[in-house]
């Protein structure tokens, strides 16, 4: 199978994309269940319905490439290679979590594989990713950096300043805007005259590409070209992925008044995983049994991850002040 442009995607790669989307979905289903059971202490911002975006982008990345993420970052972390057990343990506040229980849902870290962190503040992923690209430039490597952010961040100063400088200096970075049409619960179109972020790109002098963010192959193809450009020194790209969050902004939050049930149902019908399954089967790429086998495997992985997290120890309270500084110095304040 080939996309509209670019190289053919082999069966193995397509099944890998399918599997990654499922890893995100099944892991978050565990999180939803654990939240409902009262096992999660803070917010849970699910990525359900948006899995194709992180999956299609991160499939092109190496461990040495860096990703900067958002408050809705589970999918970015998992598709960059974070084991589900470290994610679930983090939300359960456990010592075995990816942040040792310091962060929870919004503050995920695994720099060993280039997952540089997710942020509870909207905007910094853009500038920090540009900075990581600047460091790669100084080192003269072909590393690239990716910023994920939502439509909300496009109305933030970091978008303007970060994209302007990254473009002016041809930095090896990809800006991925997940346009799910709501900044928390504010409809993007009510606070933005032009609600199509990719069309802003020409004004900054970089390519702007808009794709169906629920079509993992479309994302994969567009991200592939953008990352190729970045690696070869041709500068950044703004990739807008039009998608939708089908659950509440955060688990347990009142999800009414700002959008209709019909709209939610319409997007649920465009579920990226179901849609991709349909393509794989219709194109004869995979048999139903193959897909079922992958799903069974992923379900087992997610269940094992939840069990691991539930059995994990809480962090030692005495460690809470560690790592405020790189090293403890005599006379340190505090």
């Amino acid at each position: 199978m080939t996309g509209k442009k670019g190289a053919a995607i082999g069966k193995d790669q397509m099944l890998a994309l399918y599997r990654t989307m499922l890893v995100i979905r099944r892991t978050e289903e565990q999180l939803v269940k654990l939240y409902a059971a009262g096992k999660i202490y803070g917010g849970v911002h699910t990525y359900i319905g948006e899995e194709a975006v992180a999956t299609g982008v991160c499939a092109h990345l190496r461990n040495s490439d860096t990703v900067f993420s958002t408050h809705r970052g589970h999918g970015h972390a998992l598709s960059k290679g974070m084991p589900p057990r470290e994610l679930i343990a983090e939300l359960l506040g456990r010592a075995t979590g990816c942040g040792g229980g310091r962060g929870g849902s919004m503050h995920l870290f695994k720099p060993e594989i280039g997952f540089m962190g997710s942020s509870g503040i909207v905007g910094p992923s853009i500038t920090l990713a540009a900075g990581s690209a600047y460091a790669a430039r100084l080192r003269k490597t072909d590393q690239v950096s990716v910023a994920f952010f939502g439509d909300g961040a496009t109305n933030n100063g970091a978008f303007h300043e970060g994209i302007n400088m990254a473009t002016a200096w041809d930095l090896p970075v990809l800006f991925v805007c997940e346009n799910n049409m709501y900044a928390t619960e504010i409809p993007y179109a009510t606070v933005t005259k032009n609600p199509h972020p990719a069309t802003r790109a020409p004004a900054y002098g970089l390519p702007g590409v808009a794709v169906d963010g629920n079509d993992v192959l479309a994302v994969y193809q567009a991200a592939g070209e953008a990352i190729r450009r970045a690696r070869s020194g041709e500068g950044p790209t703004l990739l807008e992925c039009k998608t939708y969050r089908t659950r509440a902004h955060s688990e347990g939050m009142r999800d009414a008044g700002y959008r209709t049930q019909e709209e939610i149902a319409e997007w649920k019908a465009r579920d990226p995983i179901k849609a991709f399954e349909g393509k794989l089967l219709a194109g004869g790429t995979a048999a139903q049994s193959e897909l079922e086998s992958i799903d069974a495997d992923v379900r087992a992985l997610a269940e094992e991850a939840a069990a691991f997290a539930l059995a994990s120890p809480m962090p030692d309270p005495a460690t809470v002040t560690e790592h405020v500084y790189s090293e403890t110095q005599e006379g340190q304040n505090a």
């Binding site: 500038t127 540009a130 900075g131 990581s132 970091a158």
Partner: protein, 325 residues
């Protein structure tokens, strides 16, 4: 030892570090070919080019964020804000990202970044070019706050700041930039958290902050003529704060005055006084006293500046009052 100005000494420190470590780069407005508004980078562009002397647009939040991402990814940025007032646009990312990422990542990310800029009240600089702001950064866990007052310390502390894996506020008082003093050649590193006793004395202790160290030394000289022996302490770094040197001095003198041109509430003097009360109360023969600038923005007219910040005269008076307690 050779003498040079504060700004030349700091630049020598920067140049030596840039020669030593290719991961170091500087960003700021006019720090490239122009060499910096305060001559902080003169001559370095010719040696290291635009990648390492990066002139920026007026995008303080943006280039600070870029430096945070670069520092987390192994580079060692120096952000040259020219006037520290300009960093207020970057407060959010400094407090939420720069100061917290080491902790949030459990020490797996480092944040070797130097934020430098000129602070302080100088003639007719007015409300947007006279800021100090260091108490904000003393308050927030994760920052180092460095305030050299001599050319030798400017060089030695800037080198230490650049080698630190923590975010460092390196603050240069405008009234000190042209000051000349001895500066060691080559490798000269001044550690964080070690105050300097700028003048030894036995009757009363003054802790000065930045330019106020110089004013306190002048006051001490005047009082010496009357037979009063004043010890002047320059903390050099406010975070970490070397409270031990202050406590040792208070143990000897029993009296402490803190002079800071910045606002009094929740300021450096408030912190030092509290720590001395907690750790050295029995050594005090009188309550700790503070002398601060007025709590208002800095004005333009010389007339309006008359009573704005402590002077040699007001410091002498405050010391006489303290000795009379």
């Amino acid at each position: 030892m050779r003498e040079m100005t504060f700004v030349d000494a700091a630049r020598e420190g920067l140049a030596e570090e840039m020669a030593r470590d290719p991961a170091i780069f500087v960003v700021g407005e006019g720090i490239g070919v122009r060499g910096g508004n305060f001559n902080t980078t003169v001559g370095l562009y010719d040696r290291y080019g635009p990648e390492r002397l990066r002139d920026t647009p007026i995008s303080e939040r943006g280039f600070t964020g870029i430096c945070i991402g670069a520092a987390a990814s192994g580079a060692r940025p120096v952000v040259d804000f020219m006037f520290i007032d300009f960093l207020t646009d970057a407060f959010g990312d400094m407090f939420n990202q720069m100061s917290k990422l080491q902790w949030m990542s459990g020490g797996r990310l480092k944040m070797p970044i130097v934020v430098r800029g000129c602070v302080g009240v100088a003639p007719s600089n007015a409300a947007h070019h006279s800021g100090n702001y260091y108490p904000f950064f003393m308050h927030v866990p994760g920052f180092r706050v460095v305030m050299p007052t001599t050319p030798g310390d400017a060089k030695g502390l800037l080198k230490t700041s650049i080698r630190s894996d923590d975010p460092v506020l390196f603050l240069e008082h405008k009234n000190l930039l042209a000051l000349k003093g001895p500066v060691p050649e080559g490798e000269h590193l001044v550690p964080f958290g070690k105050a300097s006793v700028a003048r030894g004395g036995k009757d009363v202790t003054v802790v000065g902050v930045a330019f106020m160290v110089k004013k306190a030394l002048e006051a001490a000289e005047l009082l010496a003529k009357d037979g009063v022996s004043v010890e002047v302490i320059d903390p050099r770094t406010l975070a970490p704060l070397d409270i031990d040197t202050i406590l040792s001095s208070v143990r000897k003198t029993g009296r402490l005055l803190v002079v800071d041109e910045d606002f009094a509430p929740c300021g450096v003097a408030a912190e030092i006084a509290m720590q001395v009360m907690e750790l050295g109360f029995d050594d005090l023969d009188a309550p700790v006293k503070r002398l601060n600038g007025l709590s208002c923005p800095a004005p333009y007219s010389p007339a309006l500046m008359t009573n704005l910040i402590p002077t040699t005269t007001t410091i002498v008076q405050a010391l006489r009052d303290l000795l009379a307690e």
